[in-house]
Symmetry: C2
């Protein structure tokens, strides 16, 4: 079995184990079911795979980083649920299935997101190594997910809806919406392994390159991709008069930038002593992905 | 100055300091402004006052518990913002001012809540004493705020909307919606002071008594109170055909229960060696409050 698949399977099992067991009789059971619906629906698991891979790259036991990996995926999933809601993007489909609020209603989707964000911290704090590492990992997650990170990026997105946007503002938005949580994922892997400060910084550079390339590829797929492969509708940015890299820079320049940012990520791996093959191939694979 | 006022002033300063500075030029500034709007609007600060008071009762320096106190208030405030949204209770007024989504719009209110919940954990993890205490405090907060605590209580509330409700289900709902976060507040104060397990359990009993009395008093004020004093509309449960203690048990029985639960809280203080006057009077004061 290849490493990514092994990681994904372990992540899937750990996420399943972290969720409250389904109990239809329990009056609180429905929110747990709604959380489960969005968390256990497959998905590429990009962020938690990065956490395990960086832990291994820094000489740690990768599965020891599972609490951090699960926490990042929970934060990602909550952000998708809230982002899909009618007051935000009003999306009907996600990962090939109806969005959370289409199944459970808006109020329950709101709570499911809140529950997942809260559970993310409970899970990260359950990291069983050095207590200081548990603290540092959870704090990095909070910084990257909050008003100066992911939530801040969403804020820029909202304010720019339908309006004009500069490349600089688009970059600030994507640093928040996409790069920040990928940064948390990579950094938490390093922290789990007890890595040095210099390695944390290099992981941040990898996250920046990979995150920007990931977002650019997303924008390209929104224009060129197949809804069937993506599990969501395409052409949505144009339909919403939202600007993205492709509309601002053109398809060719966007593709050139994917290349450039991916190389930035690959170069950032140079500072690590171990086997860099997996994380290099991972970055290259995301840059050419079809979904 | 009395102790509660001193605590409240210190809490107000610490909350102000924890928020990102207002910066209208910053493209992420609006979500920070929306977070500030709801967090710094006064309010009774019941939960953070309890955190400082329990820290002091257990022999700790009360202001050392400020990161925990602020974290609990941030969680409380996020829950109010989300709870007021149109897909939940659709409330127009809160603490005498328009609700967050009435000022900033639904999408920004959603983000402001998400930002505050995330900042709560960042803030709690900034506790500067023993790292293990920082971990334990933040983990207790996550447990109490999540799907088995506050979010779980909200889930029961949603499902029972307009329908019949038993006293047992109402109690399960209020244990989640109200008691859980008060439990976190009291327990985090004990943890900040390095208290023993037995004191944590006693703090939990105090929180149960005070929290149930608090919720019952809320239901009574919804029937008997003045909208002017409360800063929000009254008669809302009846208007929404929501059942509460008063509709299920009658006004007299509800008042009797406030008394009983308040005594439960006061008795729970017996296990602590220090001066119990403040926390006893605090419970008695909440039981007869007019807002």
């Amino acid at each position: 079995m290849d490493k990514a698949r092994f990681y994904r399977e372990e992540i899937g099992k750990a996420l399943e184990g972290a969720l409250p067991a389904p109990s239809p009789q329990d009056p609180q059971g429905l929110v747990a079911e709604a959380m489960r619906y969005s968390l256990l629906c497959g998905g590429k698991r990009v962020r938690p795979v990065l956490t395990l891979a960086f832990c291994e790259l820094c000489g740690g036991e990768p599965l020891g980083a599972l609490p951090f990996a699960c926490a990042v995926e929970m934060v990602h999933t909550y952000s998708l649920i809230h982002d899909d809601m009618p007051c935000m993007d009003d999306d009907a489909m996600r990962r090939g299935r109806p969005t959370n609020h289409r199944v459970y209603g808006e109020a329950m989707a709101l709570l499911a997101g809140d529950g997942l964000l809260t559970m993310a911290f409970e899970t990260a704090l359950g990291f069983s190594g050095d207590p200081q590492a548990a603290l540092d990992g959870a704090r990095l997650l909070a910084q990257c997910a909050g008003a100066k990170g992911m939530v801040g990026g969403q804020c820029i997105d909202l304010q720019s809806d339908g309006g004009k946007m500069s490349v600089e503002l688009l970059q600030a938005m994507d640093k928040g919406k996409t790069v920040a949580l990928i940064h948390a994922a990579c950094g938490m892997g390093c922290i789990a392994a007890g890595a040095q400060e210099g390695q944390l910084l290099a992981a941040g550079r990898y996250a920046h390159g990979l995150g920007m390339a990931f977002q650019l590829r997303d924008d390209i797929l929104d224009v060129e991709g197949s809804a069937e492969k993506l599990g969501k509708e395409t052409g949505m940015d144009a339909a919403r008069s939202k600007q993205n890299y492709v509309s601002l820079l053109g398809l060719e320049e966007a593709k050139r930038l994917v290349e450039r940012y991916t190389q930035e990520a690959v170069r950032a791996l140079e500072g690590f002593p171990g086997d860099k093959g997996f994380l290099r191939d991972f970055a290259l694979g995301l840059a050419s992905r079809e979904n």
